[in-house]
Amino acid sequence: MSAHLEATPVGGPILTRPFKWLLAVFGVGVLLLAWRFLAGLGATTALNDGYAWGIWIAFDVVTGTALGCGGYAVAILVYILNKGVYHPLVRPAILTSALGYSMAGFAIVVDVGRYWWIYRIPMRFWQWNLNSALLEVALCVMAYVIVLWLELSPAFMEKWKVEAPLPILKSLSTALHPVINKLMIFIVALGLLLPTMHQSSLGTVMLLAGHKLHALWNTPFIPLLFLISVIAMGYAVVVLEGSLASHFFKRERETEMLGRLSGVMVVVLSLYLVLRFADLIWRGALGAAFTSGWMSVFFWIETALSVAPLVMLASKAGRLDPVVQFRAALFMLLGGTLYRFNSYLIGFDPGEGISYFPSVPEMFITFGIVALEIMLYIVIVKRFPILAGAPKKA
């Protein structure tokens, strides 16, 4: 794991101007959160008995964890397919995953009505309903948050071994660093197993919606489709993050490596699209793509966003162009996000006359959560050895 040693803190001041803006957005979110917990969900959200799940589930949880699959996707490459060349991407990918999953977990606490009993989900194992796909998602996500922070812990220990704000942190880091490195193989394997399980189950969850979920998304293959698309999204997240980090922190861009990663994404995305359409044809549901009004429109937007990266990255020149890489990754993520919104919200129809559009507090609580995520990312990469690659030469 020599490549890890090359990772260095970015350094520089924390409280920059953009950071203060993020702090303000987060502050608004905190105030709205207080309101949500004091007044209840009806007062603060547009949720209703028909649309019991809104953007907190469709975006913060379902899309948020998908965007948090960079760590999973890169780990498959590095640890399973043995492509050590991508190793410098592991740590930043694990960091975004850890943040994404932690924020998703936080969003669940905000969304559920009776959050004070959440601890009973993992504790009361004798009451588990093993038929429930959501139970599996809940347990796996809880476990995976812990696994991700454990995977990332060497980055913190490496720094604290040398200098720590508290003496206890220093001695703990010195003692635990070799232990965690020995155990890492078991942790990494868990980090590969858990997303395989819960990202597919996130698809299974919506099968219980039955006739309320439109035929374009309602398929017994939804678990497999969710799993494959999340891997493609994972590579896109890493490309996007690599591009943004090199831009904002003025570091050398790993253009060649990100180009090769984009190539891997093309393979996975192609597999996804083939399966997506094969399933529609097999179920005889493709006709619905032309006859379902707005549902058809959203289906084709989703499809166009997912096909676009294939076209953009078809040539080698495209794959090696930083701008094309960035745009293709962005389209990939938008396509994957819309697939999830379609499966959880837009394709979900509880009956005539019932509608949902997120309320302003719902949106700003989401913005607040995302702002917190970005702030934590900035603090951690500036202070801890996460990003590899040298600062850009002027």
Binding site: L130, N131, L207
Partner: protein, 294 residues
Amino acid sequence: MTVDRRTALKAMAGVGAAAAAGSAVSLEAREKRVAPPDALGMLYDATRCIGCKACVVACKDANNMPTDWDPQRLYDYPTDLNGKTKNIIKLYKEGETVSYVKRQCMHCIDPGCVGACMIGALQKRDHGVVTWDGDRCIGCRYCQIACPYEIPKFEWDKAVPKIVKCELCKDRKDKPFNPACCEVCPRQAVVFGKYSDLLEDAKRRLADAPDLYEPKIFGEHDGGGTQVLYLSKAGVPFEALGFPNLGEKPVPETAQKIQHGVYQGFITPAVLYVILGAVIWRNRKGQSAEEAKP
């Protein structure tokens, strides 16, 4: 560093097998559920209902439900089942044809909400009645997503909310499992009793007066069957009364087949974990050997 093709292929085969197991490929048979022998239920006959809503009032009273005021605060005026209303009478009117329909929990034989609920807050308990246990509910509302009849309701206006649904008056003072709605109905449009007796009764009514009814008992087979059964007026199909066309397959069947196929006995995840660990270990060994080279 070169890729070890064999390892890569093996790894892909492993992940692929697990993923395939996670899909529809390995669906195993799932036992058809039947109502318990002591199952209780209700039978609603739309030809007898006059829309007086005495049952709506009686339900509120028996279950201590709050008033859902109209804008002028003159009446208890629920417009649908909601966090304050477990039972409602709706009107269907199309030209000359008029029918009422009573809506409340159907007490499914194989309920979607029970299949959804993570630690069994919703369960079929005594007499096959689907009941809610606040001691287990975290308010995730997956039951609302899973119910094809849109029955479980959430107390959106409360900071400490509950799930609200008909529990067949199981906690009624002095008269548990004696639904107030059936007790007050002046026309016996809704009656309660043993599920098996009610089903027989419904079949008899259909046979005795086939001209009066739609030729179907809703709930006999729909969505795997329900302990609340419905008869509709001739010329008023159940879809018109707001019942979904579910077919005979239980709502949770597909999802549970997939979950069971993959997770039965937790074997697939355990095997996959061992394979993943072995591949990582092998790769790492190769890697450190390479690093050791000058």
